[in-house]
Amino acid sequence: MTITRNRRVALGALAALMAASLTACSGGGDDGGSGTTEGAGADEIEAALQEGGSMTYWTWTPQAETQVAAFEKAYPNVDVTLVDTVGAGDANTKLQNALAAGDGVPDVVQIEYQSIPQFQLPGQLVDLTAFGFADLQDLYTPSTWGAVSQQGIWGLPQDSGPMAFFYNQEVFDAAGVEVPTTWDEYIDAARKIKEHDPKTCIGNDTGDAGFTTSMIWQAGGTPFQTENGAVTIDLADEGTTKWADMYQPLIDDELLCQLPGWSDQWYGALNDGTIGSVALGAWMPGILEDGVPDGKGKWRVAPMPTYDGTPVNAENGGSAEAIPGAAENKLLAAGFLKWLNSSDESIEEFMATGGFPATVKQLESPEFLGYESEYFGGQKINEVLAAGASDVNEGWQYLPWQSYANSIFADTVGQSYLDKSSLLDGLAAWQDENVSYGTEQGFEVNGG
């Protein structure tokens, strides 16, 4: 406990140092991002692409390489340097460092939806309204557009992750369980699966910030609200409480496997049927096909269980590409970004290897909806997944320091999982930590 506390202090100090150095050496090229004076129309952007130049693109998208190759073929004069930033967590750190140092800043960068406020609020991103990107709004699903446009346009959505319920039919059949349509049925199913074979469980959870925030979102909670720089945190609001009350028995009665997601044990447990289901974003099928080969033909997908039978959903994961205010070649960057996330060619390249798009046209295309997945036993999975995209609750916001908040989740809410104590107490502890951290960072924070 003391160790994590010390580490937390160190992290806080680090963040403060970063913030200080940000103001100290952000000279040149940083026009605050909130009131960009450089704007350009579609013609100017196209002309810049024809004229060419070189630019840098930071991403961890597996499809980026083929997308960039296709782009360079269409615009031979543009040279895009692709940097693989490994994963979302490291990418945030890298971007933060580059911005703090004021050099080596990418022209276009992938940012998770949940981290956009972290870079947008200090004015480190370009408002893309000046490039006429407001006209692109109708291309995207409302929930992804909502994630990139709050008092400005801070990026273009790349993918989306409307949640769905992925389950192993074989495990459910063995335990004599039907697919749950409500959370009450889900808890009953969890008990039956556990009774049938104590080694197996309906799902796994050791306390995952991304999953929990999505679940609160689905329950209608809006615990984080930022307005004019003032942040309100209420991790006991109606929706949050609704989720915690529903979820508590799963922890109290040990109905879930104590396995951290994405670990090798987790993949193993998915392969051998120890874990019977996962509720995650619509990008999951590709991961099942790649990482869970033994599940071929056994897995199916259903809409998320609900609280009262009314279809309701949340997003889980997903990212946009944005242009940092310190980018050197904004015009070229805008052209590349527009092509990357709005041209059919690029989006189809992204979808070819399992990317789940954010664009309405592709989500509604008969070819996409009619796809019969061999892995899912011939099920038309995209019908289920795309339908889930239209039920996403509106009004959700993330904290301006979400990645930090997620990093202390294990010390607060995670403790409730460990000692089977009240989730609401854990959430209250998480709230207190975040209120004090936000205040330290110079935000005006109101705690519930």
């Binding site: 150095s21 961890w60 940097v83 693989d84 994963g87 140092a101 004021g102 080596g104 399992g354």
Partner: protein, 287 residues
């Protein structure tokens, strides 16, 4: 206490069992790795860790490791060699020269230098990584090999070790005799002292090599370009490929890559061991 000596030590069952348990505890992960490198990805996830399972796929794994992403693993290997040879090699040279100088010469400010070095040992390298990053970015050195090499050159602990070792292993009488015979300081250092210092130098080199070979946090924040990554960072990147959207778990390649990564370190240890052991008792007996 009769009858026991260095050659005929007293036997203790408890101690033997305890050390045996510690040995197993230390060796077990390595044994697990040796079995795991022979498995395919699905076998790795589903089989018992401490025995063979499924087709023997060690050579397929090695091939997959060196060919994945256009052979980037080999590039990482070469980078790591550069970082170790230049970084750890340089650190050893500097620590040896400075440690010897501090131990064998009296000069103004010596105590101040010493205080600074002792202070530097107390600061963990990780704590300096971010300030170093900000400094280097002002000099335009980030995302270059120098960003990893320059900080690796400084090894306060190695210097301290060499100072202690020089004070013991190089008798001042020998230096005085050499001076009387008309040998210059440099010549004395290279022809006489270096030979006496060899075990200490090897020890410092070992520490520096291992530290550079395993260095993770510094390259992580300094480097953006995967073409400059050392092995540790590259393997971490492959491991991270198993999580999040678009995940492609390749645990079998991460483990095989790790195996290939520790091989050179094992070889270095085996080769240098005899020098190292002979240095451990240096100065323990007054002749």
């Amino acid at each position: 206490m009769a009858g026991y000596s260095y050659d005929r030590p007293r036997k203790s069952i408890t101690l033997t069992v305890l050390l045996g348990a510690l040995l197993i505890y230390s060796i077990l992960p390595l044994v697990w790795m040796l079995f795991s490198v022979t498995k395919t990805q699905p076998e790795l996830l589903s089989s018992f860790g401490l025995w063979f399972s499924g087709p023997f796929s060690f050579f397929d794994n090695v091939q997959a490791v060196v060919t994945r992403d256009d052979g980037v693993f080999l590039k990482w290997f070469a980078n790591t060699l550069v970082y170790v040879v230049v970084g750890a090699g340089g650190a050893t040279v500097l620590a040896t020269a400075a440690g010897y100088g501090l131990a064998k010469y009296r000069f103004r400010g010596r105590n101040a230098v010493f205080a600074v070095i002792l202070g530097a040992i107390a600061v963990p390298g990780t704590a300096l990584a971010v300030p170093t990053f900000l400094l280097f970015s002002q000099w335009g050195l980030t995302n270059t090999m120098w960003a990893v090499i320059l900080p690796s050159l400084v090894s306060p602990f190695g210097l301290y070790l060499m100072w202690v070792f020089s004070a013991e292993a190089v008798p001042t009488e020998i230096l005085e005799a050499a001076r009387v015979d008309g040998s210059g300081e440099w010549r004395t250092f290279f022809t006489i002292s270096l030979r006496l210092l060899a075990p200490g130098i090897v020890t410092v080199a070992l520490f520096a090599i291992v530290a550079t070979w395993n260095n993770y946090f510094l390259p992580l924040i300094m480097l953006n370009d995967p073409n400059l990554y050392p092995l540790v960072l590259g393997l971490y990147q492959w491991l991270a490929d198993a999580s999040g959207i678009g995940a492609q778990p390749v645990f079998n390649l991460v483990i095989t890559g790790s195996f290939l990564t520790i091989l050179p370190i094992v070889v270095v240890f085996l080769v240098l061991q005899r020098y190292w052991q002979s240095g451990l008792n240096a100065g323990s007996v007054k002749a």
